[in-house]
Amino acid sequence: MKKFLNISLLLLGALSMGLMSCNHEEKDIFDESAAERLENSKNYFSNILVDQGGKWQLEYFTTTGEPGYIYLFTFEKNGTVTISGNNKYIGLLTNPNNKVPVFGSAQSMWEVITDDGPVLSFNTYNKNFHLFADPEDIPDTEVDEQGYGHNGDYEFDLMKYSNDTLYIEGKKHGVHMIMTRVPADVDDNTYLNEVVALKDSLFHAKIPTVYLNLPSGYRYVVSGGASLMLSFYPETGDAISETESYNAVVTHDGLTFMYPLQLMDSLTMTPYTVQTFKLAPDGSLVSRENPEISFTADILNNLVIDSKLQWTLNLKQSSDGGFIEKYNELSDQLKAANKNYSLVKVVMYFDKTLGEEINPVTHEHAGKFVLAPTIKVKVGNKPKPQNVDCKFYYDVEREGEDVIGFKYNGDMDSFASLNSKLYSKLLDLASYLGTVKYHISTASLLAPVTLKMSETSNESNYITVDVSRR
């Protein structure tokens, strides 16, 4: 019986093995084979690329060691692609001393190939684009990059398509990038010149420090914008140990970082991740991911008293009344005294070395706002009139973010004192500044290189001042 049981068990096992061996493959999950799906995917992306005129913008990045570059591609069904760019490396192809962006456009071939997925390959050399993948030494650096060059890609895994945006990944170096559809009638040269102009206007060398503002008002101090190699550190943090760097590219309508910015609001302990920014009508850059996060320069009445900057009166863009009326009276008085005398310019700035000492340890002073008209008058025994800076000193009163007033108590330097006695309108000008409050505005909150200062009591009276570095 025992033997029979054993044999039965063996039989049962053999039978179940037999049945298992008949357990064929699962029913296909997909209707098509892997190769067919890959081929379909290739055709899908090829059609997307040539659709609607086939023009695309690529936000191209190589490594974190350099900014990004904008390229325009026009894909044709016959396998050709026109690639246009506007950067200094295109200029270096023909001029070894070139330092400025130069437009270039050339035709080569493209193809969506099937690898382990659909891959967009620019498979014949395009001098304006493949230069970033060329292993030759980069001409304008001190390092010898022979063997790797910029480390750029020219084959891209096609990851996703959504809302006229292609999400791609450099096949060799793994950098994620974005391609966005551009209207077919866009002129490449015009479009890319506008990108260059936007880059020049966004981060101005005269405003070296800007801020990344978080929703609570917490800020990061940002520098390096002009080179698009931006450094960030929390305003309340340490500029050395807490600085992080991110490279970016200026697009046709904003800014994109190569990698997302990882930010922390230390006031609310809220983390933020942002990567792309859109140019807002007020000139700031507003995060597309969180519109409460933006890049701006300092608040405007802080900017006026930034001791690293100075502001020069722009007569052409100022109204006739108010301060300019006093300006004109002084100018007339000088000319009346001598036809060779003149009011040359009016400069204003904040001098933080003046005023009472507020910290005996650091010898920090309260600072004074300085109005410095330059007049051309006769000085001492010199035969010809000389330029003389006359300085008047003010205390600053600020309201909110964009109102500022200057309290004048008669402080002036010796040149101002001497010339005020000779030309009474000089003191009138200085005194007038102390009688009004100004509302400050600007065309660009990120690059406020020009400020409009309107009298709060009469907005039709305003002056315009242009920034320069002190």
Binding site: M17, G18, S33, E39, D115, T124, H130, G147, Y154
Partner: protein, 379 residues
Amino acid sequence: MTMKSMKYYLMSLLMGAIFAMSFTSCSDDKLGETIFPDEEDVLDPTSATYQLDKWLRDNYLNVYNLEFRYKMEDVGTNMNYNLVPATYENSLDLAVLAKYLWFDVYAKIAGPDFLKMYGPRIIHLIGSPAYESTGSMILGLAEGGIKVSLFRVNEMNVNNPLTMNEFYFKTMHHEFAHILHQTKSYPVEFNTYSVGRYDATNWTYRGDEVHSLGFVTAYASESYREDFAETIANYIVLTDSQWARIYELAARGWATTSSEDDLFAVYYSFFYYTNNEVGEENLNYIDEADVFTEVDSEGVEQLYYKNNRDSNGNRIKVYPVPDTDGIDGVAVINKKIEIARTWLRDEWGVDLDALRQEVQYRQQHYDMNELRKQVTDIQ
């Protein structure tokens, strides 16, 4: 047979039958249709590259079963190198030149089937050089007798025969020589002529003095195999005057003021004595470019230092460095050529000299525009 044993017997039969069923039940699997899309591999006449693609199909694929790959596929390269594609224009030029100077030559000299049998199956054009960490650049690769990669195609200038020869034509024959010796070994005797003089790492630092060691190029001194391929390739593509120069340099003596271990040692083949005062302490080596030759009153060629005279106003006499390395560079090179010649004749039935003669003629007489027309005239 007892009843008991009968039971066991029947049971065993039953088990055997069930096992057999379990296996045979799987035997109805059939090969399915191909998973690949059923598409004809037809060239698209509207493609911008149709003319070249058609010419390549007609002249390489259909004749030699060879894919001439000019559209870069990075995955088909060594990913350790940073490489870029070739330009379309240079690809076209190199395609027609490769056929004219390589495939057509072998077809004529070795017969039409030779390259069909032994030629590569893929030629891959790459726009840039492949840089090694040593700084040297790779101009060509022959991989497993199947694939030949030609690099630096974007630097190609068809109007400069010297660079065309050095960077492209020579590379074709060099890589093909590799394919041949990877198929049939060359005599090991070849490896005995320069034992101890190869330097796989530092050959890039070597200059003209390599000829006196018995190498046709510095790269030949990298290894036996490169020596063999370089010997054949240079024999085929270099002109008579270029060969005369190699023999001249190979016959010279060479000396350096540096240590022989110094990678950057510069070797000279001429020297002079300061102020013409003969003595070891006055000996200075001099570059050949600073030497000029003049026939003296007795009809003997004398060597002098350009633009230099001694304190008496006499020209400074220059002397050739004695050849003391114990190597007859000319003889070694000739022996290597002879081995290659014999091996090609006996193993492959190829006449190396006829090959050279044909290539020399074609190198000097090709009309680039005519060659291009083969492609551009395609309708």
